[in-house]
């Protein structure tokens, strides 16, 4: 029988991981800026054509520069760039944003970034006996490397740093944490 004093936990939502903004957002932001720039150009050209400002129409200048253009090597280079850019934009349009955080072990809906995990590991190792300094240098979602500097026995210090890292962050997330000892002379 369930304990009436404990509140029933509502059904958990699907654990969809936190994600960065998809690339499509960047593309649309650039396109929005292009539209704003188009508005500026159009107002400038109106002002120039009506004599409200000095200068000539920018669109007319563009048309004049296009007049007489031939299919030169430069055009081919621009075409290749456009094809590649078009492919990249098209392929990334429906790609979800990259995962930014790692799920933690257990029931808590707690997510940590690889950087947060590295900070915890680096600080834990830094407090271990015999360690001069410790810093996470290689930070990947699957593995983190903590560089430990010492002038004492490397084996003992590595064991101490390993024990500290096993305490916190420990098995908070499924990320392997490697300890790399750098011995410096006393």
């Amino acid at each position: 029988m369930s304990d009436p004093t404990v509140a029933a936990r509502p059904a958990s939502p699907p654990r969809t991981p936190p994600r960065a903004r998809p690339a499509a957002v960047t593309t649309s932001a650039v396109l929005a800026l292009v539209l704003i720039a188009l508005g500026v150009v159009s107002v400038h050209d109106l002002a120039a054509s009506q004599g409200w400002s000095s200068g000539s129409s920018w669109t007319r200048s563009v048309l004049d520069s296009v007049e007489g253009l031939t299919a030169s090597v430069l055009v081919v280079a621009v075409a290749v760039v456009l094809v590649l850019l078009g492919l990249v934009v098209l392929l990334t349009a429906f790609r979800p944003g990259r995962r930014t955080h790692l799920p933690t072990q257990g029931d808590a809906d707690l997510w940590v970034s690889a950087g947060a995990l590295a900070a915890l590991a680096g600080a834990s190792a830094d407090r271990a006996p015999g360690v001069i300094s410790a810093e996470a240098t290689r930070i990947r979602p699957r593995s983190i490397t903590v560089d430990v500097v010492t002038h004492q026995d490397p084996g003992t210090v590595e064991a101490a740093a390993r024990a500290a890292v096993d305490t916190s962050p420990g098995d908070l997330a499924k990320t392997r944490i490697d300890i790399r000892i750098k011995e410096v002379p006393r």
């Binding site: 029933a8 593309t27 539209l35 704003i36 050209d45 078009g86 809906d109």
Partner: protein
Amino acid sequence: MTRKLLGIDRIVSALVGLALLALGLYLLDWRFGVVGSYADEVRIDAVGTVADSGWWPWAFAAAGVLLGLLGLYWLLAHLRRPGPGTRRLSGSGAHGRLEADLRSVADTIAGRLESTAPVTGARGTTRSVGAHTLLLVRGQVEPTADARELVAATEALEAEVARAFPTDQVTCRVVLDAPRRRRLARTSNRVRVS
């Protein structure tokens, strides 16, 4: 940013990608003539006549300003807070509507997490995940934090939210980032004895 806006972004991105691809392929075909045959030189006589007409600057400015405003609206739409602001609770009925201001709740639990766990800069927002509402708390972990404290504080927060919304499909999520890098002081107060 809402799901609808993201959908619009994706469709527009795909169309822009297709347009760039088509333009690039057209220019390549102009050079190599694989599919069609084209004039050797670009002639803009007809376009130039339109551009020189008296009505063109006005029409172009009107369309340009409209498109510019659309671009500004589109850009600013990305800055809007995405999640729901309120949620109708199951206690609502014929006698009245009962709603919770979810953003205040999210801000409150963010402050609560900061006071109970080694977390700084906690901010609360909301997200919809299907029929569920997530109270999302983002913050930076303190480097000296104990992982067990973080888990315990999150579980305590989840339990509090579950007690507050027992049947309303509102849950909380904690997302932690690395601590912000502080500028190193010229003089360190660290003393190491080894």
